[in-house]
Symmetry: C2
Subunit: 416 residues, 2 copies
Amino acid sequence: MFSGTNLPKIGGYNYNVVLSSIQAADGISRVELAKQTGLTAQTVSVIVRRLIEQGIVQESGSSPSAGGKPRKTLRINPTAAYAVGIHFDPIEVSVVVVDMTGHKLAHSRHAISPRLEPEALISEAAEFAHKHLAELDIADDRVLGVGAACPGPIDQSQGLVISPPRHDCWTEVPIKRLLERDIGFSVIVDNDANAAAIGERWSGHGRGISDFAFLYMGTGIGGAMFLSNNIYRGVSLNAGEFGHIVVEPNGTPCYCGNRGCLEAMCSPGAISRDVRAELAMGRASTLAKLYHKDPELVDHTAICLAAVDGDAVARRVIDRAAEYLADCAVTIANALDVELLVIGGKGVTHVADIYKEKVTEFLMSRPLARKTHTLQVAISDMANDGAALGAASLVLHAAYAPSTADLISVFRSHSD
Amino acid sequence: MFSGTNLPKIGGYNYNVVLSSIQAADGISRVELAKQTGLTAQTVSVIVRRLIEQGIVQESGSSPSAGGKPRKTLRINPTAAYAVGIHFDPIEVSVVVVDMTGHKLAHSRHAISPRLEPEALISEAAEFAHKHLAELDIADDRVLGVGAACPGPIDQSQGLVISPPRHDCWTEVPIKRLLERDIGFSVIVDNDANAAAIGERWSGHGRGISDFAFLYMGTGIGGAMFLSNNIYRGVSLNAGEFGHIVVEPNGTPCYCGNRGCLEAMCSPGAISRDVRAELAMGRASTLAKLYHKDPELVDHTAICLAAVDGDAVARRVIDRAAEYLADCAVTIANALDVELLVIGGKGVTHVADIYKEKVTEFLMSRPLARKTHTLQVAISDMANDGAALGAASLVLHAAYAPSTADLISVFRSHSD
């Protein structure tokens, strides 16, 4: 239960503390680094010299100081290393290449046949990645590794996908082993929501934020959280299933066993179902005209565009979804008391402003501790590529983020 | 945001790792300690020798080992130190004295007038504590300190109670300063739910469990959580407000700003309100006969006893409360994926079995990841004294539990 620590691990931990502090700041001096990390000026100086020699950090410009000589500004060298991110979604595969700062250099999306075997799909994804790296002229030894984001649940220690609810043929797929074989780099696997949250932490709204939650609206609805600077996964790696918080006790039954879960009420599929039901009742809507030949073809994207355009039926359904989302956000505020809630995933495309406004309104008026602290809301800027960018950030995060878990588990693997 | 660590703190951290591992185990050998903590046999041996010299740990008996000579069994010495716990509840003050293992040596409960000024009440509590210590013949230098549990919200750094919702005259009471002045020992303040959770961790169901949640049913409903071996308080120290998770979107309005929160539906006050409403409608109940002169006097204890005794009205209201509790437990399972949920506080007295059965039933059939891992449920054995015992454990926990936050904040206080 409790793990001791030991001297050798401290050096590596402090190295990552300095590197991550430079990454989180947008330009920082050695003096500020020492102040922020609590490390001595000498320790900071030694670590920074090593980071500069390794080409990971560079001095760029300087800022005047109160005392005398100007302080050199330190920044991450974007070209120090690269990472590949791959997102396996039920209907498409996204592949990105990012630099050391998490900046996207290449991306592509590929529709997939639901009947394609996982093994063939993984081989294809590896090919796409190698094509991007070749086009960018990035040598293999500059690639830190590959991150793969998949719908949960996942056994991360084994890199195994375990029968995700909407991914019929993906039962116990050893994705880490298969992808490493095909792509030739080491692979880290995580669920799409965790990957998106780590992406936000590395280069999005979560930069420098110790405690935040992520509500991920993909095909289904998932979530993730950073608590005290570490991603919190739970004892069976299934924490953050915000999509299965009940928002309507008498609502639609969900495959999880509950009724009226957020996912059963607000996922793209649920929203399409509700709009189709309204159209079937003959409600006036631009969608009724557009899809008069086959109302069953009305899809989530068309609904979101119609809602923004003022269509009454679409807007009513989206507004109700926004209220459910906002209810869930209040529960997150009351239970977790985090600083920030980031909402992302392709399910919020087009309607992000409607969702953000309603969630903000509820968070200002309902959580118990709102007078002490109001939970802030942000919409992920990573849009459709959030999970793929996050997958790439998995690699950067694993390599460079200081982890107290690592600090206290120094001999764990040798102990039995 | 990120804090570095340094050599001096490691020794103290590992000392607490060994001490806490001995406390969590019910008898453990040096060899097992080394295996469990990942520390070398030599480090464990040095720390154990110091703990024995200090009288904190004692060798008691031995167990046969596979190799050769029997291994000495190490246990905490209960009389090594003592702690006082005081729970300030809206209607009574509880005072306990515990030994080093968290075992209760003395306790008393004192009804308080709601009109008594906080300052007078705090002085009274200090007197009760000194009376217990004198009766137990415990010298002042054996008392580690005093823990005070109060209804939240609390500013723990300042030891300040900040206008708890049901505690009218307790606005910004500097409880730490006042109590330290009156009692002459150092004081740690925390909210009642956190205190109860720390009590479970030190000597209850949470012993040795890295991740668990606590649902605290006092006058109101609060909560707390241990995540990755540390209590998680949130950015404004208001995490774990499970009482304000909505379980009935169209339910009773709550003072928090929501409708149908767990607290608004299942607190002792809510349960009494619902039963009185049923009696006012003329429903047949033993309570109607008992309180026919003034049905407004029907209280929560009478209702719980009647429910257990088979009274239909009381049982129906308690059963509904059990379902709401179970809904909330499912949300905790989906969001936090902890190993254990402990339910405690005086609100569960008499009806704990009814609550436990329903919560267990829901947790077996509704959380998304139940097939990977079922959240276990336990009822706190600390009954009415849970928060006071927890308050005493605050002292033991602060003195002896290894904290990664301490480990990485070594120079924090000297850094600006």
